[in-house]
């Protein structure tokens, strides 16, 4: 099982591969790098979580990896964990006035705000017609059970388990307060060799990434 992750930082997007031996292949991608993977004209239509997803798939060439592991990128079940939707997409448009807010709503809000935006982005971009689901839950056993169920009938018994969050610090003039995950993305490629316990470990890794500041990213493994 391999888990690829990214975390936005001041220089761009820090990426890496999380293994039992620690973090490998670390690289911070610049805005220019990101633009090569997700064109700038497309970036304004989708939330940052979807941009992160696209970057992870392209930078690490995950579809090639899926093929190498016996899966089919067009028939691989996809599970996305997301609890906080994509408020970043409307954060600047919103104001302490509904009248002002609606004037700033663009044609992409309906699809960019909702939690399944990443699911839609990935399935459409890569022509993946397998089952896909987005889940918001603190119950990792249920997520693991769903992923296990998904892969039973999939080519190569493979499935994708991913988590993406990007909670803005502010929506309109309202500060977002209280515990919230750091912005991050994580994609684990689940193979036929992985047990349900392994899937839960992958989920635990995702949650660690969400709770780990950038300076402590080396402690993730």
């Amino acid at each position: 099982m391999q888990t690829f992750f990214c975390q936005p930082n001041a220089d761009g997007l820090r990426t890496g591969l999380l293994t039992q031996n620690g973090v490998q292949h670390q690289k911070t991608l610049s805005a220019r790098d990101i633009g090569k993977f997700v064109p700038r004209r497309e970036q304004r239509k989708i939330p940052k979580t979807a941009i992160m997803a696209g970057v992870l798939f392209e930078h690490f060439e995950l579809n090639n990896m899926i093929r190498d592991l016996g899966g089919d990128p067009k028939q691989i079940p996809l599970t996305v964990c997301n609890r906080y939707a994509n408020w970043d997409h409307v954060a600047d448009a919103m104001a302490p006035s509904a009248e002002v807010t609606v004037r700033g709503i663009d044609s992409y809000v309906a699809t960019a705000w909702f939690p399944a935006a990443v699911q839609g982005y990935l399935t459409i971009r890569y022509g993946n017609t397998a089952q896909a689901i987005t889940l918001s839950t603190q119950s990792t056993p249920i997520v693991a059970s769903m992923v296990d169920h998904f892969r039973q009938s999939a080519p190569g018994k493979m499935a994708i388990l991913s988590s993406f969050e990007n909670v803005p610090d502010r929506v309109g003039q309202s500060a977002v307060i209280g515990d919230k995950p750091d912005p991050f993305g994580a994609v684990s490629l689940i193979t036929g060799q992985d047990t349900v316990a392994d899937i839960q470990i992958a989920l635990a890794q995702h949650n660690k990434i969400a709770a780990t500041s950038l300076l402590r990213v080396s402690e993730l493994a």
Binding site: K74, N82, R83, Y84, A85, W87, V90, M94, A95, P96, S97, A98, E99, T101, V102, I105, D106, S107, V109, A110, T111, W113, F114, P115, A116, A117, Q119, G120, Y121, T123, I124, Y126, G127, N128, T129, Q131, A132, I133, T134, L135, S136, T137, Q138, S139, P141, I142, S145, M146, D148, H149, V167, V171, G172, Q173, S174, A175, V176, I177, G178, K180
Partner: protein, 381 residues
């Protein structure tokens, strides 16, 4: 494959505060919909559970929590269930939106789709041990929640559960977002046509935005009191076609139906009724009609499309419609088509002027959502 026994159902919507009220309204061929003045100062067409012609985000901000509690309590379960699956498109949107409009700090917990336990802590059916899972995938989320329940309940050792879907999405942000992509029904001040959703009518022009939801109580074990309707099949696919547009050929929908029928070990010839997503858009009607024609080899069974009665409550519509389908199965009655709907788009989908007897056989329930998700349930008596 696992089947789930449906032991109870609940619902509320613009046509009633309980499943029985909504059911009676549907039998009476009632429709609802009209102009709603929203806090943004703009007017939209909608069907609302709250009555009246105006909304404000302050009073509406508690509606999701209240609705969720109401759906769970109306199941009248006297013991906690093992797990609750919640499908929703916008979740607690209005609570968050209201905080922004009054310029208060916004607690991250309000944005958290998984944070439903505080809303449910006084429900007899929910205990501290009840697992809560939310499926926030839009207008297909209720059916996906049902599919999730069917997939994992037995494997996880859960014997009892609730599947609920709810959306209270009549907010300034949601109205404007849907309006911007021309998904909602046209608003014409001079129109002489009733402002309702018109699935399978030639004059359909988009969905009528609504709120509401439904719930079912499910168990792995057959109830000792006798047979009840069962969820026997589930299929779901991604169309990989477009974020909002539906592939009108209906191939992905047909595929979701085929998977659901295979899961239920059911032959297409066994289908006695279809309750469609039927959002009231030209694209959706064409896609669903083509999918059924391909699946059923032209032998179209009777069809119901309840969004013609009370509009489209996003994911909330899924389980509201499943609850009404449960009513059809437990009463053996198929409601007539709503007043004012010609139902004239296809020759093989005729209007019904009166209630009829439910044909024997399995029932298909379909739904489609943004991101190109198509799901189908098979329900059997």
């Amino acid at each position: 494959m696992t089947q789930l026994h449906i032991t109870a159902a609940s619902a509320f919507g613009p046509l009633g505060k309980s499943l029985d009220e909504v059911w009676q309204s549907v039998l009476d061929r009632k429709t609802t919909g009209g102009v709603l003045h929203v806090a943004s100062g703009r007017k939209y067409l909608a069907a609302t559970t709250r009555g009246g012609h105006t909304t404000n985000t302050k009073t509406y901000s508690t509606s999701f929590a209240e609705g969720l509690r109401s759906l769970v309590n109306d199941l009248e379960l006297n013991a906690p269930v093992d797990v609750i699956f919640v499908g929703t498109a916008v979740g607690n949107l209005c609570a968050a939106e209201h905080e922004v409009y009054v310029a208060r700090d916004l607690a991250a917990t309000v944005l958290d789709f998984a944070n439903l336990r505080p809303m449910l802590d006084k429900c007899a059916a929910i205990s501290g041990d009840t697992e809560i899972v939310v499926v926030p995938t839009g207008c297909c989320a209720g059916l996906q929640a049902a599919g999730l329940a069917k997939a994992v309940m037995a494997q996880m050792g859960y014997r009892t559960g609730i599947i609920v879907s709810l959306d209270m999405g009549l907010t300034p942000l949601a109205f404007e977002a849907f309006s911007k992509i021309n998904a909602t029904a046209d608003f014409d001040e001079d129109s002489t046509v009733a402002p309702i959703s018109r699935p399978f009518c030639k004059e359909r022009s988009g969905f009528l935005f609504a709120d509401g939801g439904g719930a079912i109580a499910v168990s792995i074990d057959a109830p000792k009191t006798g047979p009840v309707p069962r969820l026997t099949g589930y299929g779901c696919v991604s169309s990989a076609y477009h974020m909002t547009d539906i592939e009108t050929g209906g191939v992905p929908i047909a595929k979701s139906i085929a998977i659901a029928l295979a899961d239920a070990n059911c032959d297409p010839r066994q289908i006695g009724h279809v309750n469609l997503h039927a959002s009231g858009t030209q694209q959706n009607d064409a896609a669903e009609h083509n999918a059924l024609a391909a699946t059923l080899n032209g032998a179209m069974p009777p069809i119901t499309a309840f969004k013609g009665n009370h509009g489209h409550a996003l994911a909330g519509a899924n389980m509201l419609e499943v609850a009404l389908t449960w009513k059809m199965m437990t009463t053996g009655t198929v409601p007539p088509t709503p007043h004012g709907l010609a139902v004239d788009a296809y020759d093989d989908v005729p209007a019904r002027d009166a209630a009829t007897q439910l044909e024997p056989g399995a029932i298909l329930k379909t739904a489609s959502g943004f991101a190109g998700i198509h799901a189908t349930l098979v329900l059997e008596n």
